[in-house]
Point group: C2
Chain length 341, copies 2
Amino acid sequence: MAITIRDIAKKADVSIATVSRVLNSPEDVSHETKEKVEKVMEEMNYKPNAFARGLIRRSIKTIGLIVPDLNNLFYPPVINGLEDGLEENDYNVFLCNTNEDIKKEKKYIDNLLNKNVDGIIFLGTRPTGFQKNKHIIELSKEMPVLMINDYITGAEVYSVMTDERNGAYKAINYLVELGHKRIGFINGDVNYTTYRYKLDGYKKALEDNNIDLRDTYIVNETPYEKGGYKGMKKLLSLNNSPSAVLAASDQIAIGAMNGIFENGYSSDDFSVIGYGDVPLISELYSGLTTVSQFPYHTGQLAAETILKVINGEKMIQKRRIIDPELKIRKSCNKCKGHFEC
Amino acid sequence: MAITIRDIAKKADVSIATVSRVLNSPEDVSHETKEKVEKVMEEMNYKPNAFARGLIRRSIKTIGLIVPDLNNLFYPPVINGLEDGLEENDYNVFLCNTNEDIKKEKKYIDNLLNKNVDGIIFLGTRPTGFQKNKHIIELSKEMPVLMINDYITGAEVYSVMTDERNGAYKAINYLVELGHKRIGFINGDVNYTTYRYKLDGYKKALEDNNIDLRDTYIVNETPYEKGGYKGMKKLLSLNNSPSAVLAASDQIAIGAMNGIFENGYSSDDFSVIGYGDVPLISELYSGLTTVSQFPYHTGQLAAETILKVINGEKMIQKRRIIDPELKIRKSCNKCKGHFEC
DNA sequence: TTGTACGCGTTATCAT
DNA sequence: ATGATAACGCGTACAA
């Protein structure tokens, strides 16, 4: 049996109330008794029981993190930032991996509810549609909820996300500056919030640059290497294949580059822009030009935000928008060579 | 205020003991009252309070996971497997990221102890030395402890790890079969358990193949892309540079390949073997030949093992060793071309 | 089979 | 400034 507040009280010859006070409101206790008690706690290696605490305080400084897929390399750096930000404030995180299974997600939510977490964070973009997110709206009535890279309107749900529309817009503009006019887009499933916005940005940028939109230049794939590879192959098989391509994720971009190399081209012939700025990936193939979502910072901001909500601070804005930035590395070049510009 | 066991008891017109029983020992309660109570619980959407429960049961079905660095891509798939295995048994995991900071690690351990986790898992290889792991030995006297990819002797510490020695051995043998005789090794810090074993395997394989060991062929770097890149540059700058190289991690391998390409070589000229078999990475550069540690399976096995320990099952062996397997893809070729074989 | 009452380790509200 | 004591919500020995 672990050592309790009572043991300390006995040994220090004070009441348990006093012991509790040196822990929670040290200013209410005389300097000397405080020192005495603290010394005993040290000696006996006392550790307050979090359950007993939680029973009264109804909080155990824990937040639940629901991540749809640990194979998505964009998430680890976000989690990293999140965890750092939370740890600084002595909060722990329950990691819940759903594999995009909605049933598993609901089970986890129940579980987290039972365990009385102080808040829940949903990581990653999600399929749109009221039905699919109804349980989150319900949840938000009971406890602080924050989404990373998605949002829900008309509910007490907070968000940290990047301006995807603008990110895609910047990327396309850059490619146009390099002289590209045939610009493809390997996107994810547009039923997911972020991919929808990216598509918007892509279209808007083309329009503003007076470039006609070609449906065949837009392909939708899974946001991983395989998808990028498949998408690239499709684009390369076109009659008038593009000379540059925006990928909706860094992993798509990598897959696309594999496809390019396999067909005997180099990044001299074919420009690729990724999306996300995942630490490792951006260094691949001697440097991937990418739209940075600042994943680590995103996580930090999420931590900061949910802590504010938990502490009851009034939030003027429910959504925090990070402005993405184009990180120019080496995967893009002026349009020339094999392709008509 | 949330709804409690007392509310249920009142509404169902039974005692709180009975309500508690339908939750914990339903066989001790008559079928009809059980149904009645369950119906009320359903209606009132009752959720047992985990704190109160934990206070008595001294367990809350939670394990703490200490990971040294979320930027190490080998970990996410392991965590994935671990989390899946744990979730199946209704266990949650506290994610603790230490950034290799021993102070942070100790703080986390205290934290986890306070929160009464049922066990703690340490992910990843660690620096050897009694001093550095003393706190883990101490910890193991208080609760179940398991290490992934490391071990401690003379303490109640369980392990799931791969036979690194054998993994390196297999890799070198394969390179020899391909005709390579000048084989470099970009290793990590040999003060870490796994890198020490890998070095052993490398040496043993050379010896068994009657190849002289050259100290200059062995370089020690950080186990990430940057390290691989730097290490490769060193090897390429040698008078008699190797024609093949074993990398102590997949991320090292990727960095090494970047170095190779930058110097104008291809994998036709220069063979590279990685280590780990991280899902994404192995697909890079049209397929990295690598020594698979089966990361997902490693995680699953860890989950299974610690649950057994928690449930008091007698474990015949404290260490579970996974035999690594060479996954042959495309980064290795017969020795030829620019380099003497 | 069911109910009463106590204890788990804290914190909070009174007194003193 | 300090102490006694009642909660917090649940599980369980004991009694009925």
